[in-house]
């Protein structure tokens, strides 16, 4: 980079309203924010990791019961939700690109579309929870899972207690995932407000990038949850 450009850039950055006092320059601020989000996501991996560990232990012990319980969940709704989230990842990428290239309308449109897809996901999830509630598959006093055959083992029936463990894990894992989606919607509302005010420029759009990282992470968690919870032992 020619010296004159560098000097000009530094001069501009010193006066950039978004540069916080304790950073030397905008590059350092960007790097710190982005590393901060990556490190935070590492803690999130461990947070979900504890539950995946519990899931794997019980799935190995009670495979048949888990298969039967898994089969009672509507896989079509789950697959639809997977498609919805993959589309929302696309709109997030578009939003980041729009912020980088100063396309304000596209940025605002992509953010709104992402949030709509997120809401659609939560709506479908709510429908699933409602079905489970009506079928008495919510763990607790009114839980009931009698005489449900184990897939692939004619004449054998699932142990309701072991199925209850499956549903406990199902609700805790998808529930915490949904909580992360709701937090993501909050972050995107904030991003939308900033985008509306025109605060993002090709020089300063770190919030869109790290908000996007968070959204992608929540999507990826779902990509693991979907097969593990919905597709345990599906036979045609």
């Amino acid at each position: 980079m020619p010296d004159s450009t560098l000097v000009g850039l530094q001069h501009e950055e010193e006066h950039h309203p978004e540069l916080l006092h304790h950073f030397a320059d905008a590059q350092q601020q960007r790097d710190a924010s982005s590393l901060g989000m990556w490190v935070f996501l590492a803690t999130e991996v461990m947070f979900f990791g504890g539950m995946f560990c519990a899931y794997l232990v019980y799935r190995r012990w009670y495979f048949g019961d888990f298969g039967a319980a898994s089969k009672s969940i509507d896989a079509t709704l789950g697959a639809t939700n997977t498609a919805v989230l993959i589309c929302s990842s696309l709109t997030v990428v578009l939003a980041v690109w729009a912020a980088q290239t100063a396309r304000r309308t596209l940025l605002i449109g992509s953010l709104i579309l992402t949030m709509l897809l997120g809401l659609a996901f939560l709506g479908i999830k709510g429908k699933e929870y409602k079905d489970k509630f009506e079928e008495h598959h919510v763990p607790g006093a009114s839980f009931s899972f009698e005489n449900v055959p184990i897939p692939g083992h004619p004449g054998e029936y699932a142990n309701p207690r072991h199925a209850q463990i499956f549903f406990s894990l199902y609700f805790v894992m998808t529930g915490l995932h949904a909580l992360h989606m709701i937090i993501g919607l909050g972050i995107f509302t904030w991003l939308l407000a900033l985008a509306w005010k025109g605060r993002f420029t090709p020089e300063y759009h770190t919030p869109v990038e790290i908000g996007g990282l968070y959204w992608h992470f929540v999507d990826i968690v779902w990509i693991y949850l979907f097969p593990l919870l919905y597709l345990i032992d599906r036979h045609p």
């Binding site: 916080l20 006092h21 350092q28 490190v39 947070f47 560990c53 209850q164 463990i165």
Partner: protein, 553 residues
């Protein structure tokens, strides 16, 4: 009038303490140094709460009969002692106070990478602390700090969920501190401050932060599962419903064993700084000490099941975990040998911080070696759940972590407050702490080996245990005096102490190259580092008067 004209009053230069006054300038500050002091006040408060419980425990055990408190009360006392001391004192102690204050100063940054997140972490700690206080005042918990299922999930009627939530919230405070340190150490170092020029205090905090980041979320989700299990009887940890209580222990110790390294690693960092400074030598084997911190963090994640040797895990996995627990001794021993080698032919000064560092060396070595006894399957089966275990982990967590914390507080007190503490009193306090500590906890090794179980409030069937218990209680009283003394003279020195120079110990390290106390943004000009860490030979060589260590009062 004429006097003031003749003797000009020295104008105090603007620093982080006198730049603004008022409650809100503290409660809304984003200055890492002020947040460190907020943490200092809050953890001191919880230290004395936890100490109060310890005092009651020791008083109960003074006589064999269970005569001071009832059994249920006693169960609550040791539970609350453990929870308060572990989650609200030891884990935040050095990182949140000294780490918060020193990490940016030592690497030449103006602040931590995320100052507002830093303030948030203090508020989370306070919210967790208030919940814990409320929980204790309205009944408390009686499971032991370990929350073992299914007792915690199905049987006890005490406030498990509230205590769990308090620890959950405090855990996020710990995660945010760790996150801030990792990003700060990666991204905010001054020009020339390469990784191999970092003070070893920073390496220790880096390793600590990794444990905080990767361990704490797991205990958080474990607490969520316990709360859900308790509220809804899910069966995840209930053997009656097909669940596995051992899974709880695995998940719990996956965090709570590495948590011990959250307490001891920062203390090792402090001791490294002190030993180098008061031996006037570069630390022996810098890279080995640095990477042994990382090795402890990594190995620390692979040994958790040594808490479960008698819980019903397979003999094969017990053997593997026993072997891995021995492996942790390697990086710990590397540190102890390197500190000792640093002392060799050093020009050693016996100032108060160094006395604490010596205390740490001895006590940590005893605590570490008895840890090896406990890693050995045969001995562990013999002494599990006895006072031997209690003595072992207090040698690490109190003898190790608290000695380092106090040593660090003395070493950096001139930088933090701008005042010198009274050296004579400080040496006396260090001696009292060391004697009191050993008198309290060494008899417990013998008690445990003789077979006194932990968590019993009544040992009237074994009155021969009394003499050692009396010694232990007497020691706890001495230890209490040793802990109160520094609080008194630190407070005293803030008003009456002699003003400290910028570098009263003539120590290496960037934190000594700015004013005492430092200005709000730490350095008047951005520092550029051109020297290696611990360049004591260089520091001492050109000056005719060798050091400016303050004389004891």
């Amino acid at each position: 009038m004429s006097m003031s004209a003749v003797i000009p009053q020295p104008v105090e230069r603007e620093n982080y303490l006198n730049t603004k006054y008022g409650v809100w300038s503290w409660l809304l500050t984003t200055d890492h140094k002020r947040i460190a002091l907020l943490y200092l006040l809050s953890i001191t408060f919880f230290f004395f709460i936890g100490g109060f419980f310890a005092l009651l425990i020791r008083l109960e055990l003074l006589t064999p009969a269970g005569d001071l408190v009832q059994a249920d009360t006693y169960n609550k006392l040791f539970t609350m002692h453990g929870m308060v001391m572990v989650f609200f004192f030891l884990i935040p102690s050095i990182p949140a106070v000294l780490g918060n204050f020193l990490v940016p100063l030592m690497i030449g940054a103006k602040d931590l990478a995320f100052p507002r997140v830093n303030l948030l972490s203090w508020y989370l700690y306070i919210i967790g602390g208030v919940m814990m206080m409320h929980c204790m005042l309205t009944g408390g918990v009686d499971t032991g700090w370990t929350f073992y299922a299914p007792f915690s999930t199905n049987f006890t009627n005490t406030k498990i969920v509230e205590a769990g939530l308090a620890i959950f919230v405090a855990g996020f405070s710990s995660i945010l501190t760790g996150l801030n340190f990792v990003v700060t150490i990666h991204r905010m170092r001054a020009p020339g401050m390469t990784w191999s020029r970092l003070p070893l205090f920073i390496w220790a905090h880096y390793a600590t932060s990794i444990i905080q980041l990767l361990g704490t979320p797991v205990v958080a989700v474990t607490i969520v599962l316990v709360a859900a299990e308790r509220a809804l009887h899910l069966g995840i940890f209930d053997p009656k419903l097909g669940g596995d209580p051992l899974l709880f222990q695995h998940l719990f110790w996956f965090y709570s064993h590495p948590a011990v390294y959250i307490m001891i690693l920062p203390s090792m960092g402090v001791v490294t700084e002190i030993i180098a400074c008061f031996s006037r030598k570069r630390i022996f084997g810098y890279h080995f000490v640095a990477f042994s911190s990382i090795a402890i963090a990594v190995f620390g994640f692979l040994v958790w099941a040594h808490h479960m040797f008698v819980a019903g895990i397979s003999v094969y996995s017990a053997l593997v975990f026993s072997f891995l627990s021995y492996a942790v001794a390697l990086p710990s021993a590397i540190k102890v040998f390197n500190w000792t080698a640093t002392l060799y032919k050093g020009s050693i000064h016996y100032d108060a911080p160094m006395l604490y560092a010596f205390g740490f060396l001895g006590l940590f070595t005893i605590g570490g070696l008895t840890g090896l006894f406990l890693s050995a399957l045969g001995i562990d089966v013999h002494v599990t759940d006895t006072y031997f275990v209690v003595a072992h982990f207090h040698y690490i967590m109190v003898g190790g972590a608290v000695m380092g914390y106090l040593g660090g507080m003395h070493f950096w007190w001139p930088k933090i407050s701008g005042r010198l503490y009274p050296e004579g009193w400080a040496r006396l306090a260090a001696l009292i702490v060391f004697i009191g500590f050993n008198l309290t906890f060494f008899p417990q090794f013998i008690l445990g080996y003789m077979g006194m179980p932990r968590r019993y409030y009544d040992y009237s069937h074994m009155p021969e245990f009394q003499i050692l218990n009396v010694l232990s209680t007497a020691g706890a009283t001495v230890l209490g005096v040793g802990y109160l003394l520094p609080m008194v003279y630190f407070l005293w020195s803030m008003r009456y102490g002699k003003p400290a120079s910028d570098n009263p110990w003539n120590a290496a390290g960037l934190e000594w190259k700015t004013a005492s106390p430092p200005p709000t943004f730490n350095f008047d000009e951005e520092p550029v580092v051109t020297w290696e860490a611990y360049n004591y030979e260089e520091l001492d060589a050109p000056h005719p008067q060798k050091e400016e260590v303050p004389v004891a009062r």
